[in-house]
Amino acid sequence: MNEHAVRTEDLWKIYPQEPRPVEAVRGVDLVVAPGEFVVMAGPSGSGKTTVLNLLGGLTRPSRGKVWIEGREISALPDKALAQVRLSRIGFVFQSYNLLPVLTALENAEFTLLLQGVPVTERRRRVRRLFREIGLEGLEDRRPPRLSGGEQQRVAVARAVLGEPALVLADEPTANLDSATADALLDVMEQLNRDNGTTFVFSTHDPRVMERASRLVRLVDGRVAEETVSGDAG
């Protein structure tokens, strides 16, 4: 077992831009242990999205390194990086997470499909998870006919089903009303508690921050403050 799910060392992201380059992330050192429930907070433009994309190998760092379960991914070629995303990372974005041509069930099982899991096994896992997170009966709906909260839950289901090292969620509740947001956080907490899935997600919402086992505050692309709360997990 690795001592970390993800680790970064002096992580920088600089976007070349006129009149001067944007330093979106400036030397972030972060270690997330397996099973953690980490919330990243910070004002708009502080670099939350950029850090999450760096952790998940969706963007390459300008400087510094990222390890997923001990394996350095920052220098991997595109194809290998894609393979890491497929097998070790789950993404949940703020909205439009689902492929509109697929049903809820097909969306949720998509990662498993790409991983080559046989159909009966896929269906079994998806149906069980759907039952657990209150999506039962919605299997055959297409995304346009699901509510925002339901869509986000399908996205979370897809992210965790592949049994990744960590799930990265960028403001997953930003487009939801507070009750729906609470319900989604309940699901994520439940998955974290019951299955030990590691979550790192970003938010603006102070009420969401309260639920973190660990809160990382970003300001101007740097970690300004880390808080570990006693009652989480």
């Binding site: 963007t59 894609a82 497929l86 703020q94 439009y96 492929l99 041509v101 998509f110 499909l113 790409l114």
Partner: protein, 417 residues
């Protein structure tokens, strides 16, 4: 590690979602291919018609001559009796599934004269039965009748010559030419009928007389040419090759219609080139339409493609999804296009496309009179070419959008707009 079936399945689903867009894109290709097939079959039909009518009035699809005859047109360069037999034998051996027509001619340049004057003439001694089927000159005589078996001292002449020389059916005229011995000799003949081709040069010059009369008048035993009309011009090359092989060393020249009817051959080639220009323009438009549609669909789905990247597809695999979409569209529209093309050909042009109303009468070129009714003809090689061209276009029009999709920056693409 490429999960190809999954990518194909996804491409199919994507097409299915944007059914209307897919259908419109496919329609551009389908209609393009159908038009191509339509215009090709009509052009091929017309060309075959030109060739057929052209070679019937000239030396056929394939002709057998003594070496030098085609340049000299002199009786000195003729097939002797043995070579004539050999030529007829080779013609009979032609590798054909349908019947061909073979005619034996003794031709010479000379003078046709009457009390009213004289005209240069191309005098051809023919076997009435085979010549009737070959040139069809006598099929619908303008006046009188065509030559018949047993005719002696009869001539079948053009309406133009009849007018110029003041001749009618039953009139007598004198044909004068240099005979085999080198002397100039005259032959008295009686007009049995006239023809009208619409080709003025021909109508004023070409005279048919019985082969036996020509032989005895000109002092010739063999013939100047043996000519074949084939069921289709496409048989020319194989028949030519076979005959050349059979007659190896016999001192007989075997020529195909592209050599013996150069003007006609050029006319067909030029018209073909014109068609290709038209087709290229058509295809440039279709290519741009498809390129635009597929490319727009990529721009439109930028976020979705970024999502696929986040789910673990590589750039190449994401591009492949887009490419497979293009391939599937191409296959579907290719099949539809062929079906539609044939349906159009069958529905509208089964009985020919009649341009009589929009064409001035008697357009002539390359030694033929343009037939105002165009009949479609389906040529397998051209059909395969059309389908192949459409496929190439469908695929190449998908290539750029696929390449673009493969190179999308995933982090950029997943940004909320």
């Amino acid at each position: 590690m490429i999960r190809f079936p999954t990518l194909g399945w996804l491409a199919l689903r994507n097409l299915g979602r944007e059914l209307r867009r897919s259908a419109l894109t496919a329609a551009a290709m389908t209609v393009g291919l159908a038009l191509l097939i339509l215009s090709r079959t009509l052009a091929d039909g017309a060309h075959e018609d030109w060739i057929d009518s052209g070679v019937r009035l000239a030396s056929g699809h394939v002709s057998f001559n003594a070496p030098g005859y085609r340049d000299s047109e002199s009786l000195d360069d003729r097939l002797d009796a043995g070579q004539l037999e050999a030529s007829l034998g080779a013609a009979a051996l032609a590798p054909l599934t349908e019947p061909s027509i073979t005619t034996v001619r003794v031709a010479t340049r000379g003078l046709a004269s009457s009390a009213d004057g004289a005209l240069p003439a191309l005098i051809v001694g023919v076997d009435p039965a085979s010549e009737l089927a070959f040139s069809r000159l006598g099929a619908e005589p303008a006046t009188g009748r065509y030559l018949q078996e047993g005719d002696r001292l009869h001539a079948f002449i053009g309406a133009g010559m009849a007018t110029r020389l003041g001749l009618r059916t039953g009139s007598r005229m004198v044909l004068t030419a240099q005979v085999a011995s080198g002397d100039i000799a005259g032959q008295l003949v009686r007009v049995v009928g006239t023809y009208r081709t619409g080709l003025d040069d021909l109508d004023e010059a070409l005279v048919h007389i019985p082969l036996s009369v020509a032989r005895s008048w000109l002092g010739v035993e063999g013939a100047t040419s043996v000519s074949m009309v084939l069921p289709h011009s496409a048989f020319t090359d194989p028949v030519l090759a076979e005959a050349r092989a059979t007659l190896e060393g016999a001192g007989i020249e075997v020529a195909g219609w592209p050599e013996t009817a150069r003007e006609l051959y050029s006319a067909v080639r030029i018209d073909d080139a014109g068609d290709w220009v038209f087709h290229l323009i058509l295809f440039a438009i279709v290519t741009l339409a498809i390129l635009n549609a597929v490319f727009m669909s990529v721009l439109h789905r930028k976020r979705e493609l970024g999502l696929l990247r986040s789910l673990g597809l590589s750039g190449a695999e994401t591009g492949l999804v887009v490419f497979v979409e293009g391939v599937l569209l191409t296959i579907a529209s290719g099949l539809l296009g062929v079906a539609l093309g044939f349906a159009l050909v069958w529905a509208f042009f089964r009985n020919g496309l009649d341009l009589t109303d929009i064409m001035p009468a008697d357009i002539t070129f390359g030694g033929i009179v343009f037939n105002p009714v165009m009949y479609p003809s389906i040529e397998l090689t051209h059909l395969v070419q059309s389908v192949a061209l459409t496929t190439v276009i469908g695929l190449s029009a998908s290539l750029y959008p696929a390449w673009h999709a493969a190179r999308l920056d995933p982090a950029e693409s997943v940004k909320v707009e």
